[in-house]
């Protein structure tokens, strides 16, 4: 999470959605990341079709495919991969790994996108309220935000799962818990940007035109906040993927038998000797997903904020910024 970013004071309404699209086109890394993510989202959406095409489903046990003498390691090389089970089977149960990985992608993407949406909505609301609500509101919300940013989110998320009734749907719970704990950064960015925008001519013109406070917030400020908020959201997404996987790894994510990557990796820690594929496949998918989101987020950032150069590019952001203010 970018905690030490400086907010550059805008001088004009920031670039619109078209810039986000136009700039990444020239960047091969961003294009590759976008393609990987598009494929992943398509595969997750089509998970039932794809698993049916493979002739498998994520829940059926196959006792004949695991070796009970060795405690349940898959029979055959590479975790039992072959024509029937494209990526092999899960050790201990013999469930089809291809199907479980695909269904796991659904959980991972759904929770991450949902949590990011909640974080952005809450952050925008709090940030706007702090910037427009007067000194006391600003002070109070500022302190709350400080505490929220400093608190150990993962520790609190683990603890919060105790007070929720056991039959509450887990993916929704993860979305709400991660969303409720992770809005601090967005609200800081929104507050700083709103304070900077408030003094600009186009906002003053709207006010002179007779627009009230809420109308200004909705019609003038929100569209101009879109660029920094989208940038920040793009950087939050990979973090939320990791957070969901971490909670599932700790056994606090979605409940079995629903598959998730984190949960697979948590059982994989007892299988790393006998069945390395069972560690490598979910790890690889998780890493590729997080990396693709990170690269894409960086491209979005570079497109929307031309002055702050890419973190990945050779040109360093902050030193460069300093020399030509």
């Amino acid at each position: 999470m970018p905690t030490h970013d400086t907010v550059v004071a805008p001088t004009a309404p920031p670039p619109g959605a078209r810039a986000v699209w136009r700039r990444p086109r020239g960047r091969p890394a961003a294009l590759a990341a976008g393609a990987v993510l598009a494929a992943l989202v398509a595969a997750a959406l089509a998970a039932p079709l794809l698993t049916a095409a493979a002739g498998q489903d994520p829940y059926t046990y196959h006792d004949d495919l695991i070796d009970s003498a060795s405690g349940g390691a898959p029979v055959g090389a590479f975790g039992g991969a072959g024509a029937d089970h494209w990526l092999g089977v899960e050790p201990g149960t013999g469930r089809d790994l291809f199907a479980r990985l695909l269904y796991g992608a659904r959980v991972s993407l759904l929770v991450a996108v949902g949590a990011t949406a909640v974080q952005v909505a809450a952050g925008v609301a709090v940030g706007l309220a702090a910037a427009l609500g007067g000194r006391w509101a600003d002070h109070l919300l500022g302190r709350v935000t400080d505490v929220m940013v400093a608190l150990p989110a993962l520790v609190l998320a683990i603890a919060l799962t105790t007070v929720v009734p056991p039959d509450f749907p887990r993916p929704l719970l993860l979305v709400l818990v991660l969303g409720a704990l992770g809005w601090g950064g967005v609200s800081r960015v929104v507050r700083a940007q709103t304070l900077a925008l408030k003094g600009l001519d186009f906002v003053a013109a709207a006010r002179l035109g007779g627009a009230g406070r809420w109308r200004v917030a909705r019609r003038e400020l929100l569209p101009s906040l879109a660029a920094p908020v989208i940038t920040y959201a793009a950087l939050l997404l990979p973090g939320n993927i990791v957070a969901e996987a971490s909670l599932s790894f700790l056994g606090i994510g979605v409940r079995p038998p629903t598959p998730s990557w984190g949960q697979m990796l948590s059982t994989a820690s007892t299988w790393f000797r006998a069945d390395p594929m069972y560690v490598l496949l979910p790890s690889g998918l998780l890493l590729v997903t997080v990396l693709a989101f990170t690269v894409l987020g960086d491209a979005v950032r570079a497109a929307l904020d031309p002055r702050g150069a890419s973190r990945l590019g050779r040109d360093a952001g902050r030193a460069g910024k300093r020399r030509n203010p």
């Binding site: 608190l151 520790v155 790894f249 820690s269 300093r322």
Partner: protein, 331 residues
């Protein structure tokens, strides 16, 4: 404002945050779930037994009174008296575990050595590796070394700590067979075995955290190197080595040190997962076991202790940072 007043003000602020945090946690955990007495008693309790437990733990009082008792227990200790034998809970009392009636403070004290061993060793790894990498990539800016390091840092930022740990386990324990699967040995029992067994957890958490520090050190160093006084030293003909070691580092390192304190919260999250992966009997495992068995006093106690550590570390970092850098105004 004098320095003493500034320090006192910051510490008082931290105390207020702690009180608010504890009240919020207490309210959240004791108001929301169904019946803490039933949870404490277990599933096979008769209604009469549940009523007895409610009496014992003082759960029939209003929540604010329970919270005040809880606060008094933290300061002065308290005693849970039932019809039979009284259960004492000494000075910083955070309640008794539902599972085995042990004071939560004792359980936390038992978990602390493992967590501290992990955190301190990992810190050494990430300060060496992270700060080192960041410095090298700032000083070799534009060269091939920097590009390799940038890619490694980027990969490190995205790698979840348990994936890193699993891959290390596979490489070091299964493939190369350099180390056995770690099992925790207390430092006081056998320092050599302690270090050998902690090596893999240290590397895991340390490598995981170093990416962040590398990035911060790099940008902080580049920023300092672009400042006017550095240009002046160079113009005087001071050698590059002296410029970097004597002057650039002085400006570049304070943000890194501040981050180490401010980042305690997220580090605890990583430590928790590392403990869980390697089976270290630390605070993380205590919390996760508490969550699994719905042991509210343990959960609230561990979160409060970690929260207190984070809030205090923030206050201390704030004070040190302000005192170290006289350009920051005391306010």
């Amino acid at each position: 404002m004098t320095v003493t007043r500034f320090v006192l003000k910051r510490l008082a602020g931290a105390l207020v945050v702690l009180l608010v945090l504890s009240a919020a946690l207490y309210a959240l955990f004791y108001l929301v779930p169904g019946d803490p007495a039933r949870l404490a008693c277990g599933e096979r309790c008769t209604p009469a037994q549940v009523a007895q437990v409610r009496e014992l733990l003082g759960l029939n009082e209003p929540v604010y009174a329970q919270y005040l008792h809880f606060l008094r227990g933290v300061v002065a200790g308290r005693e849970y008296s039932a019809a039979g034998s009284p259960l004492p809970c000494a000075a910083p009392c955070l309640g008794l575990s539902h599972r085995n009636d042990q004071p939560v403070t004792a359980l936390i004290a038992a978990g602390l050595p493992a967590t501290a061993s992990l955190a301190l060793g990992a810190m050494a790894v990430w300060l060496l590796l992270g700060v080192g990498t960041g410095l090298v990539s700032a000083l070799r800016r534009g060269g091939p070394v920097e590009r390799v390091l940038t890619v490694l840092t980027l990969a490190g930022t995205g790698t979840p700590v348990f994936v890193l740990g699993l891959l290390l386990l596979m490489a070091v324990c299964a493939h190369l067979q350099w180390l056995p699967f770690p099992s925790y040995v207390p430092l006081t029992q056998d320092p050599e075995q302690w270090a050998w067994n902690m090596l893999l957890p240290w590397l895991t958490l340390g490598l995981f955290e170093s990416a962040k520090y590398a990035r911060l050190t790099r940008s902080s160093t580049l920023e300092t190197l672009a400042e006017d006084h550095i240009r002046t030293f160079r113009a005087y003909g001071l050698g590059e080595r002296a410029v970097v070691t004597r002057h650039a580092l002085r400006g570049a390192l304070p943000p890194v040190i501040a981050l180490s304190a401010l980042d305690l919260g997220s580090m605890m999250g990583g430590a928790m997962i590392t403990e869980s992966l390697f089976g270290l009997p630390g605070l993380g495992r205590l919390l996760i076991e508490g969550v699994r068995s719905v042991d509210l006093p343990v959960v609230v106690g561990v979160v409060l202790v970690i929260g207190a550590a984070v809030v205090l570390a923030n206050a201390v970092a704030d004070v040190l940072y302000t005192l170290a850098d006289r350009r920051v105004a005391l306010s």
